[in-house]
């Protein structure tokens, strides 16, 4: 006996919603999904009229769905925003060059202007070259830090007011779990805010309209709407620490589907003791980007890469920052600690 849609009761149900387990027909599902995102945007006050918003587009399912939904909601509810796509080329062959083709196709389909910034032009290094130097274990740090800066630099070039990214509920929940496992209190209290705090100078606020949307629902939406997206994982991802948090989260979801939202709720309501040392926001003395230390992370990482000491940014070497700033050469002992693991030279 075919199951009827729980909402309209007229049409046949075609899917079961992962978030709530209800059986819905296609149109009711689209409506529910888009409505939730609309409520997210409105209640959190993410956008104001007349703003220019850059959508971080990677060609994957999250950013494709985000671009589509933003366009639809902008027209339906008349947000008054002007949208454009911003994409980052990390230089990973076999992954990023293919996904960029998808983004270019998206540009045509949604009729939105597109800008691509690449690591090569900003920093002089591609991810493939970085992985050759660093190895397979800590390279996600480099990619993430560089990409954040690249997005901000690109947005500044385009002179937009806000950036929005396609981080979904699963991503945020994984980040929370990862921060608990790694003991990173500072990030733990920051990672659940739906938009980054906007300070006066320079930094463009970033927001996550898809924060409460499940990854499974995004996939279902993209599938049923027949959206064009690129669906392969980054080739370096299996060795990341995040993989453990992700496996745990997927198991949790199979036991209780609401656990993803529960994790996000927990992180929103937890409070930190007074007197715990928290980083203070300042600016980097070399490039002027926001940073909590004297030198921002990407300057440190770049310095390490350029000098052939890739471990400079991984782990705690605060005392060396002063030396780097002053351009002094490091002592031999310090250099030894920072060399990559399987280096064969006899220094």
């Amino acid at each position: 006996m075919p199951v009827q849609c729980s909402n309209c009761v007229q049409r046949r149900a075609v899917l079961k919603r992962p978030k709530t387990g209800h059986s819905l027909c296609k149109d009711c599902f689209f409506w529910a999904f888009e409505e939730e995102i609309h409520q997210t945007i409105v209640s959190a006050g993410l956008f104001n009229r007349g703003e220019t918003v850059a959508i971080g587009a990677s060609g994957g399912k999250d950013s494709t769905v985000l671009a589509h939904v933003m366009k639809v909601l902008n027209e339906r509810y008349d947000y008054g925003l002007s949208l454009l796509l911003l994409s980052v080329d990390e230089g990973i062959t076999g992954y990023r060059d293919d996904s960029l083709e998808t983004v270019k196709r998206n540009q045509q389909q949604y009729e939105l202007p597109l800008k691509i910034v690449s690591y090569e032009e900003l920093y002089g290094w591609t991810m493939d070259a970085i992985v050759k130097q660093v190895g397979l274990k800590n390279n996600c740090t480099f990619c993430g830090v560089f990409r954040r800066q690249a997005l901000d630099r690109g947005a500044m070039m385009l002179k937009v007011d806000k950036i929005c990214t396609g981080h979904n509920a699963d991503d945020v929940a994984e980040t929370v779990l990862m921060n608990v496992l790694r003991g990173d209190i500072a990030r733990l209290c920051r990672c659940t805010s739906i938009s980054t705090a906007s300070d006066g100078e320079g930094a463009i606020p970033r927001c996550k309209p898809l924060k409460y949307a499940y990854e499974k629902e995004i996939v279902l939406y993209a599938y049923f709407k027949k959206l064009d997206y690129f669906s392969t994982e980054c080739i370096y991802s299996p060795n990341a620490y995040r993989g453990h948090a992700r496996a745990f989260l997927k198991d949790l979801e199979s036991i209780r589907p609401s656990s993803i939202i529960d994790v996000i709720h927990s992180s929103e309501t937890l409070s930190i003791k007074e007197g715990v040392k928290m980083p203070v926001q300042g600016t980097c003395s070399r490039c002027g980007y926001i940073s909590s230390q004297a030198l921002c992370k990407s300057c440190v990482l770049l310095e390490g890469l350029n000098r052939g000491l890739p471990k400079l940014g991984i782990g705690k070497h605060h005392r060396l920052h002063g030396k780097i700033l002053a351009q002094e050469p490091l002592t031999e002992q310090e250099e030894k600690k920072l060399k990559p693991v399987n280096c064969n030279c006899r220094l």
Partner: protein, 454 residues
């Protein structure tokens, strides 16, 4: 490693090797340091030790015994009692098994010479509703600070003789394992109405703590000591995050848990990893009884708590610092205390777990939206009232009971009956007004559970 003389017999953490005597000293020292650093146990205070029969709580018991028997200047200075809760009814153990484990534990307890209480979980239905109301914790103005209290005690000790203390301790030992068949049935129905193991474990935890709280209050115990070890607490922290208990994380896993007001729960074993406890109890023959629980012999994905336990244990294998990192994270969290002013309204508390309600914050509109969307199809108007009394995660536990019963007609019938009967609305109305429910007017604890949820 420490004395550099004796041969090392075990390795703790990654590199620390200990010989037998150094290990014993290290273990004992840690316990006393934990109590001394957080100065919450005052001299001559009555402290209830919650023993589950497992190695951690039995080690705690032996530490307390050890501490009380030492030479005078370093003696621990409180009056202990022991409580054991027999939850066989909820876990599905037979009556003979329960008798057997009770007898074993009784023999362990009588050896220690402390007052003990052995209660069965079924007794939870005969509790007064005052259990659900947090006691006042206004500090008595004449109550001195910790240091002053200790000084005063040392002065008085000249006059206090040993015999007085001993006779006070050897009073009635309660073994109250008798329970009425009605209660037994009620407990079984309560637990079988929950389909997921997660909700069952959560509910078991809640009922256990209510019972302990009641016994503590009735017999004048102002502190309760739990035997949670570091590894156990790390798992608890993660699973509480997964259950949505973010607001109460600090009280659930911190050293002291002040949410009940007059009775404070402390966790002196929170610095010990399971490995250390296991080694200690093996090497120094700490008597303990293994009692199977709700999640014994279940597979990894049976419940959230079980999954978290296997996840943390596996991760610990690859990254040995996982448990201690999680432990340190829990130390940095804040125990949110409700405002103590007499004039302003006290912050409302969850009905079941008695922590501050965390669902009134504006940005959580979306969480409520999620519930709204999901309950759109359940159409349960009467449960609107109940929801406002519970915190986020208790709502989830109750939802688990309710949503699966929806399919059964009998539940709908009983809901109609409850709709019409005055008792339901009486309880709900009274509790909804909430500010200080007059205990005499509200029906008994049993009614709350029996009629509301079954």
């Amino acid at each position: 490693m420490k004395c550099k003389e004796g041969t090392a017999v075990l390795i703790i953490r990654v590199n620390d090797a200990f010989c037998r005597s150094c290990f014993k000293e290290y273990f004992i020292h840690k316990f006393r340091a934990m109590l001394g650093k957080n100065r919450v146990i005052f001299p001559q205070e009555k402290v209830l030790l919650a023993v589950s029969g497992g190695t951690a709580s039995c080690s705690m018991l032996s530490q307390v015994q050890e501490g009380l028997s030492r030479e005078a200047p370093k003696k621990l200075r409180f009056v202990p009692g022991i409580i054991y809760i027999d939850d066989g009814g909820a876990c599905g153990r037979s009556a003979e098994e329960r008798q057997r484990s009770n007898a074993l534990l009784k023999s362990i307890f009588t050896e220690t010479g402390f007052t003990y209480f052995i209660v069965s979980l079924e007794q939870v239905f005969s509790l007064p509703t005052s259990v659900l109301v947090p006691g006042t914790s206004d500090p008595d103005p004449s109550n001195p600070s910790y240091k002053q209290a200790v000084d005063q005690y040392i002065k008085e000790k000249q006059t206090l003789t040993e015999e007085n203390v001993a006779s006070a301790v050897a009073q009635l030992n309660i073994e109250d394992s008798a329970y009425s068949p009605e209660h037994k049935l009620a407990l079984e129905r309560l637990f079988s109405s929950m389909k997921t193991l997660t909700a069952k474990e959560d509910m078991l935890q809640t009922l256990r703590s209510h019972l302990i709280l009641h016994i503590a209050r009735e017999n004048g115990y102002s502190k309760v000591m739990m035997g949670d070890s570091c590894s156990r607490l790390a798992v608890k922290l993660l699973s509480n995050i997964a259950l949505g208990r973010g607001a109460a994380l600090a009280s659930d896993t911190g050293f002291s848990d002040p949410r009940y007001g007059d009775v404070v729960i402390v966790r002196p074993m929170r610095d010990y990893s399971s490995k250390e406890i296991a080694f200690y109890s093996r090497m120094f023959n700490v008597p303990s009884v293994f009692i199977s629980g709700l999640d014994t012999k279940t597979h990894d994905k049976a419940s959230i708590q079980r999954l978290t336990e296997s996840f943390v244990t596996n991760l610990q294998f690859d990254f040995p610092s996982t448990v201690s990192t999680i432990y340190r994270t829990s130390e940095k969290l804040h125990t949110v205390m409700p405002p103590q002013s007499q004039t302003a309204e006290p912050a409302s508390k969850c009905l079941l777990c008695l922590c501050t309600l965390d669902t009134k914050v504006g940005r959580l509109y979306l969480i409520c939206l999620f519930f709204h969307f999901s309950e759109l199809y359940f159409r349960l108007p009467s449960h609107q009232d109940l929801k406002t009394l519970l915190c986020y995660s208790c709502r989830l536990t109750i939802k688990d009971m309710v949503s699966l019963r929806k399919a059964q007609n009998s539940w709908v019938q009983s809901l109609r009956v409850l709709h019409s009967s005055n008792s339901f609305w009486y309880v709900v109305d009274d509790m909804a007004s909430q500010q200080c429910p007059a205990v005499s007017h509200v029906m008994s604890y049993k009614t709350v559970f029996f009629h509301l949820f079954l």
